[in-house]
């Protein structure tokens, strides 16, 4: 069974899965494997490994910044596959690659899917591939048992939510606010999120739902994800690294945040 599906199957009824995003190759190439394993030890249930792109148009300044640094550090898709292989020697945590289509296209879609699967990748999130365009990768993803995880947003119609559900496996990614990625003030990820998740629950019945965008603390996660199957945190982790790297305790600062985020209903 796919590791993502397995993870949801094992989840306790009141448990919220915590998926953590980290940009591969940030803050340096050497640390990525170690911090993935460290985050798992501190409560991460899944990992989204960001594949950096020069023009990440769905991302806010934080992930743009970490992507730029990672590209300067020399990150490539092959290096990301090597990192996944290393993680797989020591962990069965589900790993999802998240990134934009152009580097994948340039790598070769078929080769990318084959190598991702062989390395131990469990799914793909491609924010610039809406369901309407996913045939660019669907055939090869399916041939290699790589789930495509689509996104839905507060302005997605019921029909599009159903479409995302039918074209996704693993889970559906619910974007809590209309906007780019990034930690926000609590107020911004607002009252309307409850109504949105309610609508998501009515329309998305084939997959678990994870909520992301704007979650930076335990309190945010609790407020936003209480009716979801789990939540996703990204920019807040990158910000924490940005603030403490390369001080000796930078990893500990990251793990402290990770540890504090996890919650049960």
């Amino acid at each position: 069974m796919n590791r993502i599906t397995q993870k949801f199957k094992e989840k306790a009824a009141d448990e919220k899965l915590m998926s953590l995003f980290i940009t591969a190759g940030y803050p340096d190439l050497e640390s990525t494997v170690e911090i993935v394993l460290g985050m798992e030890e501190n409560g991460a249930d899944m990992i989204e490994l960001g594949m950096p792109f020069s023009d990440p148009l769905a991302d806010g300044p934080t992930i743009q910044y970490s992507s730029d640094i990672a590209i300067k550090n020399g990150i490539t898709i092959d290096k990301i596959f090597e990192m996944v292989v290393e993680i797989r020697k020591r962990s069965e945590i589900p790993i999802i690659l998240m990134g934009y289509m152009n580097p994948v296209l340039r790598y070769g879609v078929q080769e990318f899917c084959e190598k991702a699967s062989r390395s131990g990748v469990d799914g793909l999130i491609l924010p610039d591939i809406p369901v309407d365009e996913d045939e660019i990768i669907r055939e090869h993803a399916e041939a290699n048992n790589l789930p495509l995880i689509h996104l839905v947003a507060p302005n997605s119609s019921d029909i599009r939510m159903k479409l995302a559900d039918s074209k996704s496996s693993g889970f559906v990614y619910c974007v809590s606010v209309t906007g780019v990625t990034g930690a926000r003030d609590g107020k911004e990820v607002s009252d309307s999120v409850d109504r949105f998740i309610e609508r998501v629950r009515e329309n998305i019945i084939g997959n678990p739902v994870m909520v992301g965008f704007g979650i930076k603390s335990h309190e945010d996660a609790k407020r936003i994800a209480s009716n979801a199957d789990g939540f996703i945190v990204g920019s807040a982790l990158i910000n924490t690294i940005k603030n403490s790297y390369p001080k000796p305790e930078w990893k500990q600062d990251l793990y402290s945040l990770v540890y504090s985020l996890k919650f049960r209903n």
Binding site: F53, S54, D55, L57, A58, G60, Q64, I71, T76, I77, Y100, M101, N102, P103, V104, L105, R106, Y107, P127, D128, I129, P130, V131, D132, E133, H150, L151, V152, A153, N155, S156, S157, R160, A164, V175, T178, G179, V180
Partner: protein, 399 residues
């Protein structure tokens, strides 16, 4: 009259020109591009929309623009007769206003009060700010910090027209990055904001819609050259960055097989110098800013920095329809360097009394290569897409 041999109908219903185009945007933007697609479809069939647009093009933009015979340039080369389609005479000084007016009318129909745009040379920014002033709409223009320096005059014009110009400091600080920021703004403010894209790029329906708002250039040219010469031209030449002036100019001639159509990219320091914006000449297909098209990118799929002396051509992508026309061979694409473009600025200024925009100068520069292959009974039309006042700073430095 020319017999129509191939029926050219692009894009398809999904917004593809051959294998290029599509809607590669985050889910958040799908409702917006769908709504735009539907509204544009309705508007383009609505006589009142078209008459309002035509009235504005006539009374405000100053259309139709002239087709001027370039007698001294023709004498200079001593070969084919050269005409210039005078988009430089449009209000605001370039073709960009055709599209800005069209999209502002659409924004109005859709009840959107806030307009955003990206700009490179500033011509699209000025055109959008102008249209917004005329209709009383809020206008935010994203512009690369580097472009704000080299096109300062246009920044001042936008401010005067009441627009807010937001300086973009990321990446190459040019058009590509301004486009990223405009898309991020759109993602964030999608409910009340209309994004006026300034070229034949972006997700469907933009490449088709922007082409259609500019096809008036080619339609007028066809009528005017038939009046002047009684026949179709042998050559059309236009500069291509994203490719809006070229697409509007070329489109009505695509089925006229006898017409040789030439798009001129910016080679920058040279197509093999590593400092170029010649996307079709040097690039390969990829996905950027919402569509599949040729791109300048490295082996890892990271977008490369383009270079051109002309801010309007300094872009590592190109419209999907140009990518398609390149693959099919219907349009031939070539590139000229910064220096060749500068020479063309000087030549056109001295011979015809027209100081062209640096973008436009790229099209004229190709005459150096083309003219010796033509004959005296042939006709060449160059799209004079914009005037050069905005470039006087750069031009002076390079004289």
């Amino acid at each position: 009259m020319q017999e129509v041999i191939t029926k050219y109908q692009q894009p398809n219903a999904r917004g593809y020109f051959g294998q290029y185009g599509g809607k590669f945007v985050p889910e958040i933007l799908i409702p917006a591009v769908r709504a735009l697609e539907e509204e544009y479809e309705r508007a383009s069939k609505d006589p009142s929309f078209n008459s309002q647009l035509n009235e504005l093009l006539d009374e405000y933009v100053g259309r139709p623009t002239k087709l001027t015979f370039a007698n001294r340039l023709t004498e200079h080369y001593g070969k084919a007769r050269i005409y210039m389609k005078r988009e430089d005479l449009c209000h605001t000084g370039a073709h960009k206003i055709n599209n800005a007016i069209g999209q502002v009318l659409l924004a109005q129909r859709m009840g959107k009060k806030r307009i955003i745009a990206e700009t490179g040379a500033g011509q699209h920014g000025v055109a959008t700010a102008t249209a917004c002033a005329k209709f009383g709409l809020e206008c935010v223009v994203y512009m690369g910090a580097e472009d704000m320096v080299r096109q300062k005059l246009n920044v001042d014009r936008m401010h005067l027209l009441g627009a807010e110009v937001r300086s973009v400091e990321s990446g190459s600080k040019t058009l590509k990055d301004a486009t990223n920021e405009a898309i991020r703004d759109w993602v964030t403010n999608v409910e009340d904001t209309f994004y006026i894209i300034g070229s034949v790029v972006g997700p469907h329906p933009y490449p088709m819609m922007v082409r259609n708002f500019h096809r008036v250039i080619g339609d007028e040219t066809k009528r005017q050259i038939m009046e002047a010469e009684g026949k179709l031209p042998d050559y059309l030449i236009a500069c291509v960055g994203g490719g809006s002036n070229a697409m509007g100019f070329f489109y009505p001639f695509i089925e006229d097989e006898s017409v040789n159509i030439i798009g001129i990219e910016a080679a920058g320091f040279g197509v093999d110098s590593g400092k170029t914006a010649a996307t079709l000449t040097k690039g390969t297909p990829g996905i950027l800013h919402g569509s599949m098209s040729y791109l300048l990118h490295d082996k890892n799929g990271q977008i490369e920095l383009a270079h051109s002396i002309s801010a309007g051509l300094d872009y590592p992508g190109i419209g999907p329809e140009h990518s398609h026309l390149f693959d099919t061979g219907r349009v031939k694409y070539n590139a000229v360097t910064d220096d060749e473009a500068m020479e063309a600025v000087k030549l056109l200024s001295k011979k015809e009394g027209i100081i062209p925009a640096l973008e436009t100068a790229h099209a004229f520069a190709w005459l150096e290569n083309l003219m010796s292959t033509t004959t005296e009974d042939q006709v060449v039309i160059v799209n004079c897409s914009g005037r050069g006042d905005k470039d006087m700073g750069t031009i002076s430095e390079n004289l």
